[in-house]
Symmetry: C3
Subunit: 219 residues, 3 copies
């Protein structure tokens, strides 16, 4: 039951990550292959970095192509939709979908973060809280960083939005609840914290502060 | 005999990859070291990513510096040629060489793709077609992606030309022929398909479609 | 005694690397998290690449968060300083610190390079000079390359300054002295060469040549 929920979360999250990857690719006028590759990179890149850092090679995503196929299907859908719609309709189309997509993306961040921490524990690194939470966050945000680097722009998570902070909070909670209350409670609470923090941040447009040495000066 | 042909192909391909890496570096006004590093990255980056993902560390390219030395020699040659020629002569010089360079690059793509798949099989991952073909493609195109990311531009293979598609076709063919007809036939046919597909694409300027939501709109 | 000196060097170097990472992040108007992440990436990225390439996973930096915490402390300090100062004071503030920061950065390059070569030897790759020196250089310069790629700009070491060349000279010297004269002499001489070469290069503004096909032409 819990495993089924996690799997559904992973599928929804993969699709949402792929959606944003494909949209960045279309925006940058990449060709069909670029759209496919960027969607796949965004969707499974974080987990691949995690597995490489943990020495668990080949990465899970390459052992079982299931999630890569989902990402490709989403990429094809985005490509098709963007090729035929006029921008006006497009605008409406995506505005309608946008809130849903953001929510699915948040769900993906939540599920990937906690499964990332879980994988570190499963591989025997559970005694190292720092390592486990770090690779959990990487699993959640790494794909987006790779996407932005490949699209030649400064990664979004470095510039705005409470994204990695939500991941950090949930990852930490998952790690400690895992030992205190068991895997399932940890899973539920960790993921819930990420969804709540991120959703509140998006709703109220909360951002982390930026250092702004104003050109106009003054102390 | 076959091994000799593969080795010659690898040397020619390494030189061609290094050539394009060095040219991008010169274009971006990198210094001598930048030209060397970008040439090396382009030439051996794909294989290094492959080996890291397969857990076959240290990567082959670092165990034996032979191919890195070839890439460095090509980089020095490009640097020297670009430093002394006037642009006019330069233009002619490179236009004359360009067709040859593209062909060598295609040969490199072909050889690297099939040896990439082969390495996955040799490391014991032969039962996973997806993984083997995926790392084969990565071996072929990874260096170019790293080159473009380091030169701060959107990777060429994401934007245009039938490049990774040729690699995919040849990698798949190699993988299945390997089991059906043996390594040598697989090698020859896989590489041949890549060379033919890419050469036809370059000759007739075939590109994958791009999603183009026209500003002018209309359904 | 020697170990203490190395450790102090590593701490100073980590802080200096983090300083430059954080300053690039502030310049690019990244938020607090971006400043933290870029500082950490710059400080420990080179060592992480080295460990992944050598198959020594998880990387040292993730096993023991000590250096990451130092980098974070520096990032917070930079963020705080840049948030409150006016640009004029800022300018003066950083100009005063700049020479010191460059020196600490150079010290970091020296220590990271020689400890990088040392780690390769410690992991059993000492018979491969090429591999050992290569990962030593990567340890020294890799973090800066990752920083610049994530900040979406062409890596500084590819464009100017005698940086990797100093690392190369010191890495080679360390490797050969290690076998001829023992670890401690190698350590001292290798690091000293890097500090001297880089300091002289900065002082006299020495740069590697750039290939410049002048628009104005002429042979």
């Amino acid at each position: 039951m819990v495993n089924t929920i996690v799997q559904i979360g992973e599928i929804v999250g993969t699709a949402a990550f792929a959606l944003f990857g494909a949209m960045v690719a279309v925006e940058r006028r990449m060709d069909l292959l670029g759209v496919l590759l960027l969607a796949v990179t965004t969707a499974v890149g974080g987990g691949m970095i995690r597995d490489v850092l943990l020495g668990a090679t080949p990465p899970l995503a390459l052992q079982d192509p299931f999630f890569i196929l989902i990402a490709m299907a989403v990429a094809l859908l985005v490509f098709w939709a963007r090729s035929r719609k006029s921008p006006a309709q497009d605008g409406k189309f995506f505005r309608r979908l946008y809130s849903l997509a953001i929510f699915c993306d948040t769900l993906g961040l939540a599920v990937f973060t906690v499964t990332g921490v879980n994988r570190s524990i499963a591989l025997g690194y559970g005694d190292n809280a720092f390592l486990s939470v770090f690779v959990g966050i990487l699993t959640g945000v790494g794909g987006g960083v790779l996407r932005d680097v490949m699209a030649s722009r400064v990664p979004m998570i470095l510039r705005k939005e409470i994204y990695a902070v939500a991941s950090l909070a949930g990852g930490l909670l998952y790690y400690y609840l895992y030992w205190l209350a068991g895997e399932y409670i940890a899973l539920f609470c960790g993921a819930a914290v990420i969804v709540v923090v991120r959703t509140v941040a998006v709703r109220y447009q909360l951002n982390l502060p930026v250092a702004k040495p104003k050109k106009e000066g003054g102390v």
